[in-house]
């Protein structure tokens, strides 16, 4: 007890002296920190430290090429005069050997592939990694060697070594999957789990592609992360299926699992398109590997073979007949038997046998069917009543839908989606338009739409449009012609209403009425109101149990969660900064004071 007390006193005294020096100089040598570091609970002090080091690990900046592997063997150094050689001697010997090899193999020792060395300790490596433990303790060459080689890039191996010695890890979106690879190589389960979670979080932040994480989690056996990736893809499937640059990395099994999801919130035609994109990407990669294969493998045959199994997961019978005939059949990739079954179901509801769920709509898909002009079956009326739960109010007022237009001459563009006849028209400009934005959470495959003439019977007679188009777009930039009206005189009387069917293949977020010629009075003003549209509406997010207003609230909550996540990341950084200041619990107060001082200095 007396000795213990004495030691504590000495410890405190030394710590105070050293802290005073730290405050004065703001920089101390490694030797003076020795007493503090020896009381740490981890091995950070020994990281890349020659003290007690008994093995050197050789790495290069980019990792060795395969040609170098055969010549880079561990060197068992013969001990002369029973004297252990110093590290300088070892490194000099290695450099000599490398120079000889470089000369003989004519390999350039570029600055970009610089060789570096880490001083390591066998007991730390063995305690932390089962692979190192087996290698360094079995009857193999490594157990008698003072230097071994790792063929991971230096930066990645540095991260691994830091983790082995301190338990801390520094990663970002660009290297997390490489760290996962090295963790899998050296079988560090904790680090693998951490990488998996970190990469998933990075996907949520939008810095990493979910398909790459799914691919890596499957390759390295992270089952939980894999399941979370699949769930994430199902929840955010529209963007991923249509635009992910690594969509091709999915295996066929994973792809089928995704396509089988009933809550895959993507229109069926878009699902088919993404599947075709997946197969085409595979073909292009194959050509990259071996360009000569293009002569022996026919692309259509390759695509058919590649798609034969996943296509069974597409619900063709739930598509419209014109989608089948003008889009699906044109690709010539689907078996005719499947197509004939789909046609038969659309015509006469004969059940399908190939895929029993082929005729069922997926979750999140709501169909709006036209009955008569001015009815309450439209999408905009649905938005106006908060999805049939409240009395009607303009969807613009409810902030669900946004309406833009060319310059207005009289009034504002909002009544364009209202239900009250309103006297409104644009300036007399060519290509006048009204545009409806359904919001980020919805896409619509329109089947029918109606319009009302915006002029009353006395003031604006004969100004009804007769030349216009209905356009659709996903991003508001590229537009697809859905219906073209030329010399159409359906709208004639004051506040007259008319409707037209639409055979749209795809689904759209934006719908635009674009004037393409003079109106019935040979003017260029566009006089329209009470736009309504019918078709299949797909909710891109899971809000079955929530109203549109609640969805907005959920969005705000998501923002808060993002902020919390960012704060958490900052905490991790703080922990990393504390690595060098770890001390015994007895000095916790002084440590905190020191941290406060550091924060003040920062």
């Amino acid at each position: 007890m007396f000795l213990e007390t004495k030691n504590n006193n000495n410890n405190n005294l030394n710590n105070k002296l050293i802290r005073n020096k730290i405050k004065k100089d703001k920089m101390v040598s490694q030797g003076k920190n020795k007493l503090i570091q020896k009381y740490s609970s981890d091995f950070s002090y020994y990281f890349n430290n020659q003290e007690l080091s008994d093995i050197i690990i050789q790495v290069s900046e980019n990792g060795y090429l395969d040609e170098d592997v055969l010549t880079m063997k561990p060197i068992p150094i013969n001990i002369k005069n029973d004297k252990k050689p110093t590290f300088e001697e070892i490194i000099e010997l290695i450099n000599q050997r490398n120079n000889c090899l470089n000369n003989s193999n004519k390999i350039k020792n570029d600055e970009t592939n610089r060789i570096d060395y880490f001083y390591t300790h066998k007991f730390v490596l063995s305690a932390r990694s089962p692979v190192f433990m087996k290698m360094l303790s079995c009857q193999m060459m490594e157990s008698n060697s003072v230097i071994i080689t790792s063929h991971f890039p230096r930066s990645i191996f540095y991260i691994l070594l830091k983790f082995l010695y301190s338990g801390k890890v520094e990663m970002n979106a660009t290297n997390v999957l490489e760290v996962l690879a090295i963790a899998d190589y050296y079988q560090l389960e904790d680090l693998k789990d951490f990488c998996g979670k970190y990469s998933l979080q990075t996907c949520i932040d939008g810095e990493l592609d979910i398909c790459r994480v799914l691919y890596a989690s499957e390759q390295y056996g992270l089952e939980k992360i894999k399941q979370l990736c699949l769930d994430y893809i199902s929840q955010h499937s529209m963007d991923i299926l249509l635009s992910s640059p690594n969509w091709h990395l999915l295996s066929e099994e994973n792809l089928i699992e995704i396509l089988e999801q009933d809550n895959l919130r993507v229109p069926e035609v878009e699902i088919f398109d993404s599947l075709v994109r997946w197969a085409e990407k595979q073909y292009s990669i194959l050509l990259d590997l071996d360009p000569s294969l293009g002569d022996s493998i026919n692309k259509p045959d390759f695509l058919k073979k590649k798609l034969s199994k996943p296509l069974k997961s597409i619900r063709f019978a739930s598509m419209f007949p014109y989608q089948l005939s003008s889009h699906i059949e044109k690709t010539n990739l689907v078996d005719k038997e499947i197509l004939y079954e789909a046609y038969r179901y659309c015509a006469a509801q004969i059940p399908t046998s190939i895929n029993s769920s082929s005729c069922e709509l997926r979750q999140g898909v709501k169909e709006f069917t036209f009955q008569f002009n001015g009815d309450t079956n439209g999408v905009l009326y649905y938005f106006g009543t908060c999805e049939d739960m409240e009395d009607y109010e303009s969807p613009v007022t409810r902030k669900v839908v946004t309406v833009t237009s060319s310059t207005m001459s009289i009034g504002y563009p909002h009544p364009f989606v209202g239900r009250q006849s309103t006297n409104m028209y644009t300036d007399k400009e060519e290509n006048s338009f009204f545009c409806v934005d359904l919001g980020v959470k919805h896409v619509l495959c329109p089947t029918y739409y109606s319009l009302r003439y915006g002029g009353d019977s006395q003031g604006s007679i004969y100004a009804a449009p007769k030349n216009w188009q209905l356009l659709g777009s996903l991003d508001g930039q590229e537009w697809t012609l859905l219906r073209d009206h030329s010399n159409d005189l359906s709208l004639k009387d004051g506040y007259g209403i008319a409707g037209w069917d639409v055979k749209s293949i795809h689904s759209y977020r934006y719908l635009k009425i674009l004037q393409t010629g003079p109106n019935q009075r040979d003017g260029n003003e566009l006089c329209l109101c009470c736009f309504e549209v019918y078709g299949r509406l797909v909710s891109l997010e899971d809000d079955n149990n929530n109203t549109t207003c609640s969805s907005l609230t959920d969005g705000e909550s998501d923002d808060d969660e993002m902020k919390n996540t960012t704060s958490h990341i900052d905490d991790d950084d703080s922990d990393n900064e504390d690595v060098n200041d770890n001390n015994n619990g007895d000095d916790s107060d002084e440590t905190n004071n020191e941290n406060d001082d550091d924060m003040d200095d920062n």
Binding site: K73, P130, M140, M141, E142, F152, A181, Y185, Y215, Y220
Partner: protein, 771 residues
């Protein structure tokens, strides 16, 4: 670029060739192989894109192992002289190589592909993919071991035989072979190699060897030497099992040896027991005990033999005690003790203090103590034991030191546990303890307490509660005397020049005879008694004091002889002697008038004084003239300081009464070497009459106890038939004494008369609880 997500150009055949070359080096014991590069090669094959090469790699490993094992088989078959040595050498290399491959080189393949394959298999289906080490062992077993199994097993069998014959053999060959079988069994749930091929053969050879050896040895060397030999062989085989058999087989081996070496000869061993006991061959007994204790039921006949022998020896020893009707307690108890110690020592040395044999000794001693020819149909044993205790505990017995006394008393307590009628012991011990405490003749209070503690541990608190209370009374009496003296000083009271001391004894705790006559206290003591009585009544109201003068004693200083003497006398004797302070001679009638003793008591008291020559008895004659002698008589019989000189010449008057009256006078010619004289009292001698009274008291106590038991039982049961009631009463009183059935019947009749219980109507053998 080592990146798992990148594209890898893999030439499977080139990498596999490198792996195969290195694995061959490992399997042949080379140390110059790099683990890291091999691990990396396997890693690259496992993560190759677009298709990993896990399955081709596994198939190639399998084929490689098969070819390698086939080569080893050829090498072993080419060895003609030393098959087992070559086999073990190759096995060691192969096994350690497999271990390295499993843990280091193909670790990634095991974890990432083979384990998944195994898990993907449906439950219940045999797997077709194994970890690398298991794969290697299976190939070794099927392609090598099964082909040379008989040959190798034969070699091992020969080695074991040589070892048993005392030849020098390579022990590690056998143990390493056994371990290799266990490792090969680890890949198969049946474990057939070790259990069927090796263990069964080993046990059968052992059986044959020792069956033959044991029979031959007994025939040639006799049973005594055989016991030593068997013990040695069992130890040898125990050590051999540690080396040659797995721990799961040790019990089987042990049972086999016990069966062959002991079970088959146990009748012969057991029959020798009686001879060893008679000849006191302790070593042989110990050897026999060790052997027979190894088998189940082996010691049962020995237990019976030992018990009979102890009983026989004990009863014979007691028969040799003289004076069967009235034996010396010391001789009797020490004979019993000698028997107990003798056989206790034998059991400790030869039977390893076995609990079974201690029980046998208890049973035999119990029989000896309660049913020998001295105690025939009587309860002599506890009586003699109590008397022997009294001998040891009395003062004046200077034969023993205190430590020795404690040891002897401890031994007596051991014997006490074997006594049936413990209430008899209690009665006698209580009576003698009373006498020792009242007379102050105990050796030491500590020794007395030591004895009581031992009895308490043997029979419980209730058995010794009376003894405890007796000691308590003695302690309280000392305090009372101290307080009484302070009381006298404080109140300026005087009781004369007598040193007066009282013992206050609780009624019911002491075994005391009541006073048989009304004794008139001498006048000198009346003052003391009145003072104490008055004091005590003020301290404890409601308490009544009964004076037991026949138990009192006094010390009187006399001046009638040439020198003064201190006489230690009883109260009765004191009463008689004090008469002579006032009279020169007294007649019998006068003594009776003064003391009021009955004729019997008076006669005994006077006789003790005459025998001590303090008094002289003579007949008075008409013509006797003693005038001159009386003038010279100094008749001071009072306490210290009193010198009442009586001039007898003036009081001399010739008597004209009856001429045949006895007259008593002090003996002025009395002389004794010692100045302190203890006048013996007949009360201190045990008389046959008092002995009979003690036994009557015991019978009375037993009846009370039985009646209390019967009432307690009937109160609990309400109704009970005759036989069950008697059975239960015997059960209740067994710990105190062995009741006889006539006594129980008598108690039942008495309780019926007192209306505690009644007979059931119409059933003459059933009783009902009535109170």
């Amino acid at each position: 670029m080592m990146n798992g997500l990148g594209r890898q150009d893999i030439d499977f055949n080139t990498i596999w060739k490198n792996i195969a070359d290195q694995v061959y080096k490992i399997l042949t014991g080379s140390q110059n192989v790099s683990a890291m590069f091999l691990y990396e090669d396997v890693y690259k094959l496992c993560i190759a894109q677009p298709q990993p090469y896990c399955e081709p790699l596994y198939e190639n490993i399998k084929k490689f192992f098969e070819q390698h094992v086939d080569q080893i088989l050829l090498i072993i078959l080419d060895t003609k002289s030393d098959t087992i040595s070559e086999y073990l050498k190759q096995w060691k290399l192969f096994f350690s190589g497999c271990e390295l491959c499993n843990k280091v080189i193909f670790r990634y393949l095991n974890l990432n592909w083979i384990n998944k394959k195994i898990l993907d298999k449906k439950f219940g289906h045999p797997p077709d993919v194994y970890e690398i080490q298991i794969l290697g062992l299976m190939i070794w077993k099927e392609r090598l071991f099964f082909k040379i199994k008989d040959r190798v097993l034969k070699c091992v069998e020969i080695l074991i035989q040589k070892d048993r014959d005392g030849e020098l053999v390579q022990h590690q060959f056998i143990s390493q072979f056994m371990e290799s079988l266990i490792k090969l069994d680890s890949v198969d749930k049946d474990r057939t190699l070790y259990l069927i091929e090796y263990e069964a053969s080993y046990l059968e050879n052992t059986r044959q060897f020792y069956t033959r050896e044991s029979v031959a040895f007994i025939a040639s060397s006799g049973i005594s030497s055989y016991m030593k030999k068997a013990e040695t062989r069992i130890d040898e085989e125990e050590q051999r099992s540690q080396k040659y058999l797995n721990s799961s087989s040790h019990d089987k081996m042990r049972r086999l040896l016990h069966s062959i070496l002991i079970e088959k000869h146990k009748e012969l061993l057991q029959s020798e027991c009686i001879n060893y006991l008679k000849d006191e061959k302790l070593d042989e007994i110990y050897n026999m005990y060790k052997l027979l204790s190894r088998i189940e039921g082996g010691l049962a006949p020995v237990l019976e033999t030992v018990q009979k022998y102890i009983q026989h020896v004990g009863i014979d020893a007691i028969k040799s005690i003289p004076d069967r009707n009235n034996p010396d307690p010391k001789i009797y108890v020490e004979t019993l003790l000698k028997i107990y110690l003798q056989f206790s020592s034998i059991i400790k040395k030869s039977f390893n203090n076995d609990v079974s044999f201690i029980t046998v000794l208890d049973l035999a001693c119990h029989k000896i103590f309660n049913q020998n020819h001295i105690t025939r149909n009587t309860t002599k044993s506890p009586e003699l034991l109590a008397k022997y205790c009294d001998m040891l505990l009395k003062k004046g017995n200077k034969q023993h030191e205190e430590i020795e006394l404690e040891e002897k008393l401890g031994q007596i307590i051991v014997l006490f546990k074997y006594v049936d009628d413990k209430d008899v012991f209690q009665k006698f011990y209580s009576k003698m303890l009373s006498r020792r405490l009242i007379n102050g003749t105990s050796v030491s209070d500590d020794i007395e307490k030591f004895m009581i503690t031992g009895l308490k541990q043997a029979c419980g608190f209730e058995y010794t509660s009376k003894f405890q209370r007796m000691f308590n009374d003695i302690t309280l009496s000392a305090e009372t005397n101290e307080e009484f003296k302070n009381h006298l000083i404080k109140n300026s009271l005087s009781i004369g020049k007598i040193d007066f001391s009282i013992l206050v004894l609780t009624s019911g705790s002491w075994s005391l005879h009541s006073q048989t006559s009304s004794f008139i206290v001498p006048q000198e003591l009346t003052l003391c008694i009145s003072a104490f009585q008055q004091y005590y009544s003020t301290q404890h109201q409601g308490r009544k004091l009964n004076w037991l003068h026949h138990l009192c004693k006094a010390e009187a200083k006399s001046f009638f002889a040439k020198k003064s003497y201190d006489f230690q006398v009883t109260n009765f004797q004191l009463g008689i002697l004090l008469i002579f302070n006032t009279q020169e001679s007294v007649s019998l009638e006068e003594i009776t008038k003064f003391t009021n003793l009955n004729e019997n008591e008076l006669s005994r008291t006077l006789q003790s004084l005459i025998e001590a020559k303090i008094l002289i008895s003579k007949k008075k004659d008409q013509n006797s003239i003693n005038n001159n002698n009386n003038n010279n008589n100094n008749n001071n019989n009072n306490g210290e300081g009193n010198n009442s000189l009586v001039d007898s010449a003036n009081n001399m008057q010739p008597s004209s009464s009856s001429s045949s009256t006895q007259e008593y006078t002090v003996n002025s010619a009395y002389s004794n070497k010692r100045s302190k004289v203890k006048v013996s009292s007949s009360l201190q001698k045990e008389t046959p009459l008092q002995n009979e009274e003690t036994y009557k008291g015991i019978d009375e106590d037993r009846k009370l106890y039985l009646q209390a038991s019967i009432v307690r039982i009937m109160k609990a049961r309400k109704t009970m038939n005759h036989v069950s009631l008697i059975q239960e009463v015997i059960e209740h009183s067994r710990l105190r004494f062995q009741p006889n059935i006539p006594m129980i019947k008598k108690c039942i009749e008495q309780l019926i008369e007192k209306e505690y219980i009644t007979r059931a109507e119409g059933e003459s053998d059933r009783y009902l609880y009535a109170a």
